[in-house]
Symmetry: C2
Amino acid sequence: MTSSVMDRLWAVVPAGGAGTRLWPLSRAASPKFLLDLTDSGRTLLQSTVDRLTPLVGDRVVVVTGAAHEEAVRAQLPGVERVVAEPSPRDSMAAIGLAAAQLELEDPEALIGSFAADHVITDPEAFAACLTEAAEVAATGLLVTIGIEPTHAATGFGYIRGGASVPGFATAELVSEFVEKPDAERAEAYVRSGEYRWNGGMFLVRATTLLDLLAENHPDLAAGLREIAGDPSLLAERWPTLTKIAIDHAVAEPAAVAGKVAMVPGPFGWEDIGDFSALAEMTPSGASGVKVIGDESLVLAQDASCLVVPAAGRTIAVIGLEDVVVVDTGDALLVTSYARAQEVKAVVDRLKATGRTDLT
Amino acid sequence: MTSSVMDRLWAVVPAGGAGTRLWPLSRAASPKFLLDLTDSGRTLLQSTVDRLTPLVGDRVVVVTGAAHEEAVRAQLPGVERVVAEPSPRDSMAAIGLAAAQLELEDPEALIGSFAADHVITDPEAFAACLTEAAEVAATGLLVTIGIEPTHAATGFGYIRGGASVPGFATAELVSEFVEKPDAERAEAYVRSGEYRWNGGMFLVRATTLLDLLAENHPDLAAGLREIAGDPSLLAERWPTLTKIAIDHAVAEPAAVAGKVAMVPGPFGWEDIGDFSALAEMTPSGASGVKVIGDESLVLAQDASCLVVPAAGRTIAVIGLEDVVVVDTGDALLVTSYARAQEVKAVVDRLKATGRTDLT
């Protein structure tokens, strides 16, 4: 059964979101997913496709904004299917359009949706998890991947598991999706051991996804299927589609109806939300500092820091603890690990003053 | 008496020293005195001459390294006498050569020596102090200016005053010069109330200076007088001159002999030794941060900092206290006020690795 199910699995990669908290590295024109944040020689988008290719071959669809289509194609010469959204309509429309197109080609098609800007450190565990998740999805359930919480994060939604899905090793039915909690509730969720992070990965039959969508948002489901049937409608119909996240549109109501399963994902998952998260996953180099880029440009003296010398200039850091220095051609950021979240506020200030050249 | 004495006073400005602790602003090619560190629109050298001109008119001699002659002339179009040293031979040779030249032109010439990279905040008090000091110098004493200590600095020499000089308002005979003390001794000096900082300013008859020098270093005094008499000897004789600071060569032995007076200088004096000292004298701008340069380039959020946006790039500083950010075209420094002294060590490391392009 395994091989035939995996042969029907398509990877859908929605590549959107600017990653504002990673300014000045990430900009509207060079969003997070186009950057090599792990200093691996591959961008987050390329790494995402790299880890999917052994599982799905060339059955990869990337959905991105029209502004980034060219950059996405340049980074992924092996991926033929790049769907360019005329404008951002949130994740349901992006993933749903790919599902509607694939459903036409193969009524039995399965899709897995994987964000273009997450980091996964154990690709073998990822492959094993996906294989089980695809098999569960083939039975007609919407399957989400549950990430073991490493701390009481307030930046992710949580999933509460429940009864096992009969016949599968680890899958459980999902009893509840909960939105990003406050610190106290996050603490309680993690302490209970019953909750996992919602990593935003879904596996589901293309037709199941659209049918579930049709139950709650019939216009959106119909619109997506219409565009898939006649691509010439895209420019005209796309802007009229409901802007909604896939979690709200489908996963939450389907969970209430007992149609969502969760497979635990024990594969080392990181959503690089800000420079503090990036520092945490970046190893210290010979000089004792964490450098994304050319380490020879950084002179550190009694300093613990994350330094990104993206402008090619020499950077000296002396006597500072847990400090972030990000150097680009036209903008420089200096902050601390503890305050890295606040980068967004600076970007908002720049936007408010019309500095589109810098954002 | 005042006017005639001041009419014979020449200002000698030795313009040397790289200011290594102010890297990456100051470099071998752009030393501290050529920089506008006070953000006043005038460099330290220009400000030095600006405050002397009302006192001495065009009787200004700048002594600088051959490598900086062109830059000095460009910054000081009104100063005709710029003496270029073929190589650095310390302050006694630099000031002594100017003294020997002036002595030939006017046997009664007085010289005042003023470093090119100090900041003085009260020019009127400076003028009053200099007027008394010149009058004392005209009597044949070597006169030094004593700076009221504001803290137990270990980076300056100290001067101990003694008996008043009869006939003058504030001048005292100097009983002792002491070298840069350790912290404990500095504390004791300041507590005693008997010591002042040696600000490195001397006023003396040109002939007196050279005669005092001849008592302890006859070859050096003779060499300087020979070169003054025949400038064609400069290139050949200069490298053979003893390399010694004016304090050691003349001031210390003359003090022992009772030939040195001190006039207190209550005019707000700063030797900008490092970025911490620069931060202390830089007022906070509208954004609450201290900016040397274009304040509109700096976005600070809950940060106390000194920022030098010398590369014209936008700089965001978030949630940091007492941090120094100095941004230049090819190098960036991030440190704290408390560790600003250690910039020198980084420059030494760069020099050790042959990075003359950066130092």
